[in-house]
Symmetry: C2
Subunit: 203 residues, 2 copies
């Protein structure tokens, strides 16, 4: 009995569909992390997920659609922001979350693979941009709170401050062999907080 | 008569070799910018360069070797740093150089392609890391001069300040659809200068 033929009586409504999606997206993430995006193949992913090939073709159709769904799932599964009460504390929490994700072997390889895939395919690029828009919007309110506490000037571009925290971590991931450690994360947060206080992100 | 059979009497010593290399690297850059790295093929590049296929195979052997040589050439061809006399002026000059490069359709696509290629191949990654090490080292002395003028504290990591200027530009190139304009470049320079002044890049 494969996942498509699970006994309906044992499964909540929608449960089988959700389980199949989870298995396929995990398999797609594994394949991307291990092989990169260039050799991604729906039949291989179906085998890895132990899901019928026709189910995968019917539901996603193309590698591009599957990548878009994977990125949506990654956004949905991402942790919510933490609220420490200070701009530097909040930005450090964000920086360490990004750093832990990118330093994790599977997750780091997966992010490299989806960024590489987005350079070759505009629909994957759209999905990647949406992923970052969602993640930046999740954390931007901590900068608004900092403005209200007087920690950053009125008119500061809240989204740009959050992007400034991530940027050095991604730049290091993609352009150097130096490992991403907590000190790198803390420095990214300190630099963004200092530049925000100095008004560098005012619109 | 193809480039390999050019009359030796009409060419300076070494001229033919240099001309062949220039033609092949330009063709490789064009192919990368137009098609991305996934379909790069030495025979196709030889055709584009109007150079004998055997010359290309003998000299470079693999796509990976050709990518490494292209990245070395990109480092050699890069503009030297400018010296404006102030940290913010120098960082703005650097930021605008990076921004103009990444905003140029051919160059922007080429950088995306080599970054994507580096995620799939460790020798290309090594060559890419060397490219950035060379470019960062070219500009780092402007931060040393700023320290000597009292514009940034002693112990500031000069290379890290230069990386901080590039990071938001690359992050935007790879994770968003927002165009890279001069305002983005100036903001990156202003943020890095403000954070450096505040001591965020002290070792």
């Amino acid at each position: 009995m494969n996942a498509e033929e699970a006994d309906p009586g044992t499964v909540r409504p929608g449960g089988r569909t959700a389980r199949v999606r989870a298995a396929v997206l995990t398999a797609a993430g594994d394949a991307l992390a291990q092989q990169g995006f260039a050799h991604l193949d729906l039949a291989d992913i179906a085998r890895r997920a132990e899901v019928g090939k026709t189910t995968v073709y019917r539901r996603w159709g193309t590698v591009t659609s599957l990548m878009a769904d994977l990125l949506m799932d990654m956004a949905e599964q991402s942790l919510p922001r933490t609220d420490t009460g200070s701009l530097l504390g909040d930005l450090k929490a964000n920086a360490r979350l990004v750093q832990r994700t990118l330093a994790d072997p599977r997750q780091g390889a997966l992010f490299k693979a989806v960024i590489a895939a987005a350079t070759c395919d505009s629909r994957t690029a759209d999905a990647l941009h949406r992923f970052y828009d969602i993640r930046i919007a999740e954390w931007a309110p901590c900068v608004q709170q900092a403005i209200e506490r007087g920690e950053a000037p009125e008119g500061t571009d809240t989204h740009e401050v959050i992007r400034a925290v991530s940027a050095p971590l991604y730049y290091r991931l993609l352009t150097s062999a130096v490992p991403l450690d907590e000190a790198v994360a803390d420095r990214a947060a300190e630099a963004a907080a200092a530049a925000a206080r100095a008004g560098a992100y005012k619109r």
